[in-house]
C-alpha cells in the first residue's frame, strides 16, 4: 500500500477549497483514476446497499481522520507520524463498527469483518500522509469530502451495476421484469473484478480520447 502514497502530491501552487473538493470527484477519483483502497471494499460491493454503506463508512473515517491529523499536524513528531495516523484511523474504524451494529444487525452481518478492514484502506492513510499532515483543517476537510464523495460514488457505481445485472434489482427493488435471466457471475467475486475493470476501461476511453484531442 505504501507504494502509491506518494503518487498524488498536489502539483498546483495554491488551489482553492472548491478545487480540493472537485478533484476527488473526477480528476483524481480515488477508485477509477488512482485505483486506491480497493482491497477491503470490492468484496462487499455486490449490492448497491452494501456498497453505499461501505462507502459512507469509509468516507466518515476519512473525514474524521483528516480533521484530527490536520489539527494535530504540528504536535505529532515526524518519526512517529505514520504510527499515530494508524492509531487515529483504527479508533474511528472501531467507532464506525459499533455505530453500524447499532443501526442494523443485518447490515453489520453483510459487511462482516470488512468494516474493520477499512483500517488498512490505502486511501485513508495516503490522504492523511500526503494531504492532511501538510494542510490546514479547512482544506483537509474539503479534501476528505471530495475524496469521500468520489469514493462513495465509485463504490455505488460498482455496486449498482453488480446488483442490477446480477439480481435484476436496485436497493432490493426489482427493476427488470420477471423474465430477466440474472447474470449470477456479477454477484460472484469474479464479477467484482470484471465490473471494476469495465469502469476503468470507460475512464481510460475518455482519457485516450482527450489525449488525442
Amino acid at each position: 500500500m505504501s507504494a502509491r502514497i506518494t503518487n498524488n502530491i498536489d502539483k498546483k501552487a495554491e488551489p482553492s477549497s472548491t478545487d480540493e473538493f472537485i478533484k476527488g470527484l473526477w480528476r483524481e477519483n480515488p477508485v477509477f483514476v488512482q485505483v486506491l483502497g480497493m482491497c477491503p471494499v470490492l468484496a462487499v460491493s455486490n449490492t448497491a446497499q452494501n456498497a453505499l454503506a461501505m462507502g459512507l463508512a469509509t468516507a466518515f473515517v476519512l473525514l474524521m481522520s483528516n480533521i484530527l491529523v490536520a489539527s494535530l499536524r504540528n504536535f505529532i513528531p515526524k518519526q512517529v507520524r505514520i504510527a499515530s495516523f494508524i492509531l487515529i484511523i483504527a479508533t474511528f474504524v472501531t467507532i464506525v463498527d459499533y455505530a453500524i451494529q447499532a443501526i442494523s444487525v443485518d447490515l453489520h452481518k453483510n459487511l462482516g469483518a470488512f468494516i474493520s478492514l477499512i483500517v488498512v484502506n490505502c486511501l485513508i492513510l495516503s490522504r492523511a500522509e500526503a494531504f492532511a499532515s501538510k494542510n490546514t483543517i479547512g482544506k483537509s476537510i474539503m479534501d476528505a469530502l471530495g475524496m469521500g464523495v468520489g469514493f462513495v460514488l465509485a463504490l455505488f457505481c460498482l455496486g449498482a451495476v453488480r446488483e442490477l445485472l446480477g439480481n435484476g434489482s436496485l436497493f432490493d427493488v426489482a427493476i427488470f421484469p420477471e423474465s430477466f435471466q440474472e447474470w449470477i457471475i456479477m454477484i460472484l467475486p469474479a464479477g467484482g473484478f470484471f465490473t471494476l475493470a469495465l469502469w476503468l476501461i470507460v475512464f481510460n476511453y475518455f482519457k485516450v480520447k482527450k489525449a488525442k484531442g
Binding site: C39, P40, A113, L117, V120, L200, V208
Partner: protein, 193 residues
C-alpha cells in the same frame, strides 16, 4: 470452539476461499508485484511468513482481551501488535540471516499493513479457531496468496507480448485476468466438505 478438521481448514483457506480471488484481500500487492515471476514468489513467501507470525499474535491478543473483557480494543491492538512484531522479526532476520533478509526484507514493511494480514487475524478470531487451527489457516491462506500471485505473474509475463487495445492496458487488463482466475478457482468449491 470449532471442530473443523485441519485438512478442511487448509483447503478452504488456500483454494475455496482464496484470500485474493474470493475475498479481494491483498489486491494492492497483487496488482503491484505480480509483474515478474521471481518477485511474485518472494512476495508470496514473505506474506506467508508474516501471516504465520500475525496468526500467533492475534491468537494471543484475543485470549488476553477476552480475559480482561475489552473486545473494543481488538482492532487497535491487532494492528499495533502485528506491525511491531513484524518490525522486530525484520530486525532479527537482518542480524541472523542476511541472505534471507535480502530475499524477503524489502517486502516485510510493505506488507505489515496489508489487508490480507489483518483480514487473516480477524477471520481466525471470528471462526474461533484454536492455536493449531489458526496456524493451519494462516499457512493455507499464505499458500493460497502465493499461488494466486504466481499464476498471475505467469500470465502477465506472457501478456507482455500480446497486442492489447490502448484502453484496456494496465490495471484494467490485470483485473480482467484476475476475474477469470477467480472464476477458475470457483471450481474448487465443495472440496472442503
Amino acid at each position: 470452539m470449532n471442530t473443523e478438521s485441519y485438512w478442511s481448514i487448509f483447503i478452504n483457506a488456500s483454494l475455496v476461499n482464496n484470500f485474493v480471488l474470493a475475498y479481494f484481500l491483498g489486491i494492492c500487492p497483487f496488482l503491484g508485484v505480480s509483474g515478474k515471476m521471481e518477485t511474485a514468489t518472494k512476495m508470496g513467501g514473505a506474506v506467508t511468513f508474516v501471516m504465520l507470525i500475525s496468526s500467533i499474535c492475534a491468537y494471543g491478543i484475543h485470549a488476553l482481551l477476552v480475559a480482561i473483557d475489552a473486545p473494543f480494543l481488538q482492532l487497535i491492538s491487532y494492528i499495533v501488535v502485528i506491525a511491531s512484531t513484524v518490525q522486530l522479526v525484520e530486525m532479527f532476520i537482518k542480524k541472523m540471516s542476511p541472505t534471507l533478509f535480502r530475499a524477503l526484507g524489502i517486502f516485510l514493511p510493505l506488507i505489515t499493513t496489508n489487508c490480507a494480514i489483518l483480514g487473516l487475524a480477524l477471520f481466525q478470531t471470528n471462526k474461533a479457531y484454536s492455536l493449531s487451527q489458526s496456524l493451519v489457516y494462516a499457512l493455507g491462506a499464505g499458500i493460497g496468496f502465493t499461488l494466486a500471485l504466481i499464476l498471475m505473474a505467469g500470465i502477465r509475463e506472457q501478456l507482455e507480448f500480446a497486442e492489447v487495445p490502448d484502453v484496456v492496458k494496465g490495471t484494467a487488463l490485470t483485473l480482467l485476468v484476475a476475474g477469470i482466475l477467480s472464476l477458475t478457482f470457483m471450481g474448487f468449491s465443495g472440496l472442503g466438505t
